[in-house]
């Protein structure tokens, strides 16, 4: 036990401050005031991989590491869409996942936000549209914020999440 504690003490607190919101990522402008009134700054996210290559999942995972420390901002990932305020959706939406994504969206209580993550989620990316792919997430469910990148860095994903819940355009998000 003391080895564990000593290691924790040795590392200390290494969390970095996130970047401010970026309004250029916003693609839809509804709900924010309502969301903020209901949620304050506690946010529950359900991550949905709708057909990605798993690169974006690696960066979403990284948000949980102590350097980005997303839980320190009051944001956490939950196990069911019924517990979620936001869907974080990756991938081109594969035809085999389309129904599951629609059902997940329907199961998420209103008011809800959707952040599309990665080039594929934003535009279909390198996979595009085809017999097995519906392309971008917005082809299947409404998207509020889209974060491009292949994959986008954890910092950019965090900016996208914070942008989605920022009360007004240009509002700074306190990370205290």
């Amino acid at each position: 036990m003391w080895k564990t504690l000593r290691q924790i003490a040795r590392v200390g607190i290494i969390t970095e401050t996130p970047a401010p919101v970026d309004e250029t990522l916003r693609v839809r402008d509804e709900l924010q005031a309502q969301i903020l009134a209901i949620l304050g700054r506690a946010l529950c996210i359900r991550a949905v991989d709708a057909g990605s290559c798993n690169g974006c999942e690696l960066e979403i995972h990284a948000l949980n590491n102590p350097i980005y420390n997303i839980e320190g901002l009051g944001i956490r990932f939950v196990a069911s869409p019924r517990h979620a305020d936001m869907l974080l959706v990756t991938g081109p939406v594969s035809r085999n996942m389309e129904l599951a994504l629609r059902q997940t969206y329907a199961a998420t209580p209103d008011p809800k936000l959707v952040v599309a993550v990665g080039d594929c989620g934003c535009s279909g990316g390198i996979f595009g549209e085809g017999y097995a792919s519906r392309g971008r997430v917005a082809n299947v469910i409404p998207v509020d914020v889209a974060v491009p990148g292949c994959p986008p860095s954890p910092g950019r994903i965090l900016t996208g999440i914070l942008t989605a819940i920022a009360a007004q355009r240009g509002a700074a998000v306190s990370t205290a």
Partner: protein, 509 residues
Amino acid sequence: MALEDWFAPATALPGAAGVRTRRVSSGQWLQAAHDFAAANGRLLALWASGAPGAGSVRAALAANAGVLVTELPLSAAGYPGLGDVFPAAGRMQRAVFDLNGAVCTDADRRPWLRHAAWPADFHPLQDGVPAPEAEPLRHDDYAFVRVEGEGVHEIPVGPVHAGIIEPGHFRFSVVGEKVLRLEERLGYTHKGIERRFTEMPLLEAHRLAARVSGDSAAAFSWAYAQALEGLAGIEAPVRAAWLRALCLELERIANHLGDLGALGNDAGFAFGLAQFSRLKEQLLRANEQAFGQRYLLDTIVPGGLRADLEPSGTACLRGCVAGIAAELPRLREVYDEQAGLRDRFVGAGRVPAQLAQRLGLCGLAGRASGQAFDVRVDVPCVPYGELAARRCGSTDGDVAARVTVRFEELCESFRLVQCILDGLPSGVHRIAVPLPPAGGLGLGLIEGWRGPVLLALEPGAGGAIRRCHPHDPSWQNWPVLEHAIIDNIVPDFPLINKSFNLSYSGADL
């Protein structure tokens, strides 16, 4: 017949070292599989090109004697299934039917990659077939195997899971909390990668190869480059080969660190996740400084590397990897001494060596169950022969063994990274790639962090791609997970699943 007799009349394939090919009759197709199985060989991949009557089906068989690709012309009557010899062939053959429309003689004819999104008579890899109109959305009515008996009930899980992981469906048949049977239903991330390859130029499709499974970008893009360079009749500069090995080992280190943290977390030890994910982040940042890419996507390109490694990048990687290597023994000691972790790891999800051999478990998970095969050691390409990569392994076959193999492979990768940085040859990092002639087959074979990654490439006319089959080792290992969970309890499934950490996208394509 002895394996030498299969190899003698075979011709060398362009690409990976030590791979040969020969056309076979349907009797030989089956006999070759039997002979390789009898020599403790394994099936690396099975795929088809074209349609029945015009195309062929191929099997890549590996044994100590080398790798042989058998090619059987596809008749309208179908081809002999290899499922009895290599159980892992089953899903590959079902995918061959979905994609190419070629039937085999094995009994399980259920669709695999096709769910309900496109009509059963559409086979996307038949030449020149237009994509059909979208089918109306409906549930996929898949014929799961039912387990009957008093007190047996089913637990369906997925495709959307509780964690941040890829989609797939697991059907557990349980009594109480004990698992009698698990049946996987995958294919949810099938996005038509193989058909997409045929729409891309040969010299650009390494970008698609890198995105077959994002966590194995270096392995797949190297395999693609290896196949293409072989077909073009060139060899990447030796400096590029060393840098590619550097990328591959960095990818292995990043994934093993991530898995060790996640395995601790799944056993209720959040300290592990915090510590290992911190080390992984350090490495990703060093990757970004050295190569401009956290996950080394598009770093390996045909002809060499996208950009050379500068002295500042060398210093950054050297410092970062040495730092991680210095911390690892401390963390390993904590993992070894944590009674709670040992309790969850030891004995969970055991795959005995004999079962692993029979089912063809490969790569990292295979090495934890006594299956020694490692491309870097057994059929090494430059520079692995010179680096003398060491084999790691265990015969315990449980979660604890897969943790141990990860720790040991980390140490070996630290050593390899140091050797590469110390001995990095000078010279150019990239040369031009001439367009290969149409026809023929090139093969890439690389030991990714998860296991052997194979890529088969057939060039078309004018710099097009006729066929590209990227093959992730998850194809072989997913079915073994169904055996690993038997008699374990349902709550241990996430831990056991994570200890394999297989790719959905890599096998769904």
